[in-house]
Amino acid sequence: MTAKPSSDNTASRLSEVKDRIGHVPLIRRNSFVYSFLTLLVLYGAFLLPHDGPPATAGLSVIILFFLLLIAWAVIIFTDELKPEFLKTVSVFAIFVVAAWLYYRYSTARWGEMTYLFFNVDIIKKAWPTLVTGFWTTLLLAVSAAIMSTILGLLLAVFRSFNNPVLNVFIIAYVDFFRAMPIIVLMMMIYYALPFMGIRLSAIASGILALGLNSSAYVSEIFRAGFLSIKKGQIEAAHALGLNPIKTMRLVLLPQAFRVVIPPLVSNYVASAKDTALASSISIIELLKAGLSEKSLLANPSPLIFVTALYLVMFMPLTRFSGYLEKRMKAGQRQVRL
């Protein structure tokens, strides 16, 4: 641009720029997007073949429909100016329509499947046994969790004293209870200990076995939590005159707590599923209840319902751990990748 721009030139260049900015390509215009959507809805309502497995011609109609839907979603998604709400709706629409199409056209026998696996009448009949099983499992899981946390924390604290003799015993304990199969442990406590004069009920044996096994894992989790604390923290605490116990209580534990919550929670959830092994010492816990009802009523619905019950049991736990983590974030910024 060597020529000095005259006012004429500026005006024409400005109008060029205005044209370029103001000009919205066809596929980006809102009118186009909404009319496309209307077309798709009409297509889906009237032009799709009937329910049931489609003939080849019908199949291509269905596939065309789905591809057009995806094209519509892509138009929306690749445009930064479209509202977020519309983008969310379009993604959901893809999943919902895919499920709906599958439901209409697949060879799945939905009715039979519901009768076999989601049978409400059968579940009503099985309900009392399942509920008893639920509370039993909950009792086992919670008691074992409490026991393993206290025991595991004590072990980790003793380990932090770095006493060589003590360490030998602690390491042996951890290795032993991590390796030992839980069923064997339960059976030994329930069937073998009475010969040594210690007679425990089935539930108590179950809790003890689960607690001992889990405590080995918990102690390693806490130990990792302590290791994650910078050495300078311990030095500062000692320099202030805090003895090892006070250092642990006031400086190390609060810091370790935040780090250990995710692995601890997954440990509790895994341990809760291990309660299913308690059926080997004749405890009617949730899974056993589901299995026996399945045999009794000749219908697998109780088992599917058992899965739902397990989910219900774990949900409060994961919500609670999320809440704990949020509370501990006070004053600590999250590391962002």
């Binding site: 300078g232 500062a236 320099a239 202030l240």
Partner: protein, 246 residues
């Protein structure tokens, strides 16, 4: 006033890390209100020496007397001794899960067993001294390096120690923040606190120290007043070190 009261006496201190003989027989005496600076090349054992004096590192052999008490004795309560010595670290080491004022209150409340109210009063007075009153409820990560170090100094002072140790207190700070920390240290020296400082801040040492220990290869090669060391050093090792940094 008996100025020659021995606060710290070190006799033939040795420290070995496996095969590395870091301290090879260090001896010195620090009297009340004395400000002693420890200088030397890296690896000379400056930090190790300071950390042996409150047994954050266990000495291999030798004797250390804090206010006349042999701290290497088998039945000594080292935590009691440590309450007499305040320590400030290069990496601050503030407790991240506590606010500034809570950091300062922790030790007095749990070791000296004073009430929460009194601890808060004392803590706020100390924060005022280091000019950080308005940051009392801030968490360490919300503070700049200089502010964190000043809180760390206040935390050490909260235990009302007789002696203060500084292990390279300004080495991790930006140049602008070094000044505010040195100001606090200068004020403490003026008030008569017994201080041992490991540092590379030559200007500060020259002005504030009563005595300088020059440590090299685990031994005190030379010691004297700032004037003696900086202008008139006797040993070649000292002269080499000084020529490189001044």
């Amino acid at each position: 006033m008996d100025n020659s009261e021995k606060m710290i006496e070190v006799v033939d201190l040795h420290k070995r890390f496996k095969n590395l003989h870091v301290l090879r027989g260090v001896s010195t005496v620090v009297t009340r209100s004395e400000v002693v600076a420890i200088m030397g090349p890296s690896g000379s054992g400056k930090s190790t020496f300071l950390r042996c004096l409150n047994r954050l590192e266990e000495p291999s052999s030798g004797h250390i007397y804090i206010e006349g008490v042999d701290i290497m004795a088998p039945y000594i309560d080292i935590n009691k001794v440590r309450t007499e010595i305040g320590m400030v670290f290069q990496s601050f080491n503030l407790f991240p899960h506590l606010t500034a004022i809570e950091n300062i209150k922790l030790a007095p409340m749990n070791v000296r067993k004073i009430s929460a109210n009194e601890a808060t009063e004392r803590g706020m007075a100390l924060l005022k001294k280091v000019e950080l009153e308005d940051k009392a409820n801030a968490y360490p990560e919300q503070l700049s390096g200089g502010q964190q170090q000043r809180v760390a100094i206040a935390r050490a002072l909260a235990m009302q120690p007789q002696i203060m140790f500084f292990d390279e207190p300004t080495s991790a700070l930006d140049p602008e923040m070094i000044g505010e920390v040195l100001d606090v240290m200068r004020a403490m020296a003026k008030e008569g606190m017994t201080m041992m400082i490991v540092s590379h801040e030559m200007g500060f040492i020259r002005e504030a120290a009563d005595r300088i220990l020059f440590l090299a290869d685990g031994l005190i090669v030379e010691e004297g007043t700032p004037d003696q060391i900086f202008s008139d050093s006797q040993h070649q090792r000292t002269q080499e070190f000084l020529s490189r940094i001044l």
